[in-house]
């Protein structure tokens, strides 16, 4: 094709570029960017009972972060959210990596069956997952106590979902059980992309499967692991549904399972006799956004740049 200069090139390319960008731009602007900006705008207003919304500047942020009632609730939900995230990072992702490592072993049989079974919970609705686990762990009807009885550990069984000390951890494990398929799939795909000759060379040099995994495969999939971590972070700080399905918006007992998503819901929409406050709710949502933004920026600048990438 003859090139007649950059100007014509751009003019020619203009239409397709706009056409390709348009759907995503329009949809994201309409359904993501606009609501996001509008919700931030909403957080700068307040509506007195029966009156019109008025601009109040940062008052709502001051209320949430400085008023002792709101601040204690907010930071409680923040730390609970951190615990929720920590369990996912320490349990879900290592298990996901380990399972992906095992699945990618060349001599494994029934690989596809295992893969399907492990991704299955991810495809279930959260409401169903919450319901199933509530039943399994129920002290009245649950099979949990009977299963522990078989291995002689029945004395360890307790109403875990109802105890302040264990409710959040239990819910985190339920969430881990549901979502472990995602890191598994992503890391498995990355592992498959590793050329066989690298592994073969290591095997010829006498490395065991475990050594191959630790010294060759893991460093090569580290960028994927980092991506999984940031997805986990964003997903966990946006989490709401499982807690709401199992514990309701009051996230009991004594708010021990309250995370930022449930706090947002309660504040924005209200709960039982507590009336919703869209402005304070939008403030909570904006703070969630800032926390997630902070986490993502930290990842981009402090972690992603330092990751060694290898050309394969």
């Amino acid at each position: 094709m003859a090139h007649s200069g950059p100007m014509t090139d751009w003019r020619k390319a203009k239409l397709p570029v706009i056409a390709f960008l348009a759907p995503a731009t329009i949809i994201y602007t309409l359904f993501m960017i606009y609501p996001l900006l509008d919700s931030i705008r909403l957080s700068f207003y307040a509506t007195p009972s029966g009156g019109e919304a008025a601009f109040v500047g940062l008052d709502n942020y001051r209320t949430i972060l400085a008023d002792p009632d709101w601040a204690s609730v907010f930071w409680n939900s923040f730390w609970n959210n951190m615990k929720f995230f920590a369990v996912h990072m320490l349990v879900q992702n290592p298990i996901g990596i380990a399972l992906a490592g095992i699945l990618s072993l060349p001599q494994l049989r029934f690989r596809n069956t295992y893969r399907t079974m492990m991704i299955m919970p991810t495809m279930l609705s959260v409401v169903i997952v919450g319901f199933i686990w509530q039943l399994i762990l129920s002290p009245v009807w649950g099979v949990g106590a009977d299963l522990l009885d078989i291995v002689g550990l029945k004395s360890l069984f307790g109403p875990w979902l109802g105890k302040e000390a264990s409710a959040l951890i239990t819910l985190s494990f339920i969430s881990v059980w549901q979502w472990v398929g995602i890191p598994l799939m992503l890391i498995y795909a990355a592992l498959l992309a590793i050329p066989d000759d690298l592994v073969d060379a290591a095997v010829v040099d006498g490395a065991t499967h475990f050594e191959v995994f630790i010294h060759i495969k893991l460093p090569l999939v580290l960028p994927t692991v980092a991506m999984v971590s940031i997805l986990t972070f964003v997903g966990n700080f946006n989490a709401f549904d499982l807690i709401y399905a199992v514990k309701g918006a009051l996230a009991g007992p004594n708010f021990s399972t309250d995370i930022m998503g449930t706090l947002f819901y309660r504040t924005f929409f209200g709960y039982q006799l507590q009336l919703g406050n869209p402005h304070l709710g939008a403030t909570v949502a904006s703070l969630m956004f800032l926390i997630i933004l902070g986490g993502v920026l930290f990842y981009l600048f402090a972690i992603q740049r330092r990751l060694a990438r290898y050309q394969m």
Partner: protein
């Protein structure tokens, strides 16, 4: 992805309302918003057909939302202008706020409004009583439902005093074949509603105590409230093991499967037990201390129906509301839904034996409503939601009765002038 929740919050409400626009567009069809999703058959098979016998040209549809989501969804729909014509009203502040925002129309001039007593209307009036904005439908009564066969088998009688009540529970526990009391604290509200508000009026003398809390002369740290929490704290001895993780439906099932002897109830539980329990059951009011000369029951004004101020079918909706003030509706509603007691002055024959037992306590005992509903749940922290948390914690033993009482008082003192 990071703005997903924000989008969810705002666009969710938007999407919900957009989805409802076509429904409203069909003119002349009345849409009733309600949280009573259990009652959909009764409305569709009994109440609406009865109304259509008189007004065959008005089409009515009953569109319930699950109870826990109702307030959030109806508020969002009203704000977005997509709510139904008739709005089922929660008592007191939730509806009062809707009225103040101009979302509910005043109903003072509705024909038939004089069929309701002032007490019945008080839950849906402005604080000064100058405007009524919802038509009272029904109240619910708290008490205890018991398994008659279990009582016979263990050999205990229906208790008349608090001492007899706990002696009976002890005996059932000792016998071991039944769980003495079916309740859990997982959902929190049962502990407050079926527990605290059920047994409490006998301690704080019903309306007198409730009004004292409102004018500030009574405090949650008073003996009456501490003692209520103390009695509640003893319940853990009688609840099934692992009650911390037992939900409301679990407790209902434990009772209706015949595994428990006593069930702390709201009268609305009757119809479920009628359908599911294959044993005979009865009811008794929360027993007062021996020697008390008056007994008190929680007879809570629970449900009413209001008119969406922006309804395009206001004339038809008013016809429906007027029909609801009549004796036919009172009779139909009270008997189709045993356990919901009509608030109108019409003489209604309640045919269900357990429901009529519940309603008979109105003659023997003084009625009161839940003390957290009027005015006291207006601020932050919200008293009703606080009581859920505190009552559950008292039973779970993570708070002592004294700590719970002072926490409730401290919460109120934060925003309510008479308690400061």
């Amino acid at each position: 992805m990071s703005n997903k929740v924000l989008a969810k919050g705002l666009a969710g409400a938007l999407a919900a309302s957009v989805a409802l626009v076509p429904m409203l567009a069909s003119a002349g069809e009345l849409v009733i918003e309600s949280w009573r999703n259990d009652d959909i058959d009764i409305w569709n098979d009994k109440i609406i057909p009865a109304f259509n016998e008189e007004h065959p040209d008005i089409k009515v549809s009953f569109k319930p939302t699950p109870p826990t989501e109702y307030n959030a969804s109806v508020n969002a729909k009203l704000a977005g202008g997509t709510a139904g014509d008739l709005i089922t009203c929660r008592p007191f502040d939730a509806s009062l706020e809707l009225f103040k925002q101009g979302n509910l129309a005043p109903l003072d001039d509705l024909n038939g409004m004089d069929n309701f007593s002032d007490v019945a209307k008080s839950a849906w009036q402005t604080d000064d009583g100058s405007a009524t904005f919802c038509l009272p439908m029904a109240s619910v009564i708290h008490g205890f439902i018991y398994n008659k066969e279990a009582f016979e088998e263990v050999g205990v009688d229906v208790p008349n005093t608090r001492e007899e009540f706990y002696a009976a529970l002890d005996k059932i526990k000792e016998d071991g074949s039944y769980i003495p009391m079916a309740m859990g604290t997982a959902d929190q509200w049962e502990a407050a509603t079926m527990g605290f508000q059920n047994i409490g009026p006998n301690y704080w003398n019903g309306e007198a105590g409730r009004k004292a809390l409102i004018d500030g002369s009574g405090k949650f740290t008073d003996a009456a409230y501490v003692d209520t929490f103390k009695e509640l704290a003893t319940w853990k001895n009688y609840l099934p093991s692992g009650f911390e993780a037992i939900s409301y439906p679990d407790a209902q099932n434990l009772f209706s499967l015949g595994r428990a002897a006593v069930y702390p109830a709201g009268s609305w539980d009757i119809s479920l037990f009628n359908n599911q329990a294959d044993f005979e059951f009865g009811a008794f009011p929360p027993p007062a201390a021996a020697g008390a000369d008056t007994c008190y029951i929680s007879d809570h004004t629970d449900i009413a129906l209001g008119l969406n101020a922006n309804s395009e079918n206001a004339a038809e909706a008013k016809l429906f509301l007027e029909w609801m003030t009549g004796s036919e509706f009172a009779e139909l509603y009270s008997n189709a839904l045993p356990g919901f007691f009509s608030l109108s002055n019409h003489k209604v024959e309640v045919t269900d034996p357990v429901a009529s037992e519940f309603v008979s306590w109105r003659q023997e005992c003084e009625s009161t409503i839940r003390n957290s509903y009027q005015i006291l749940s207006r601020g932050t922290p919200n008293l009703e939601n606080e009581l859920w948390n505190l009552s559950a914690q008292v039973i779970n033993e993570t708070l002592s009765p004294e700590e719970a009482a002072s926490a409730a008082e401290a919460g109120l003192a934060k925003w309510y002038a008479p308690h400061q």
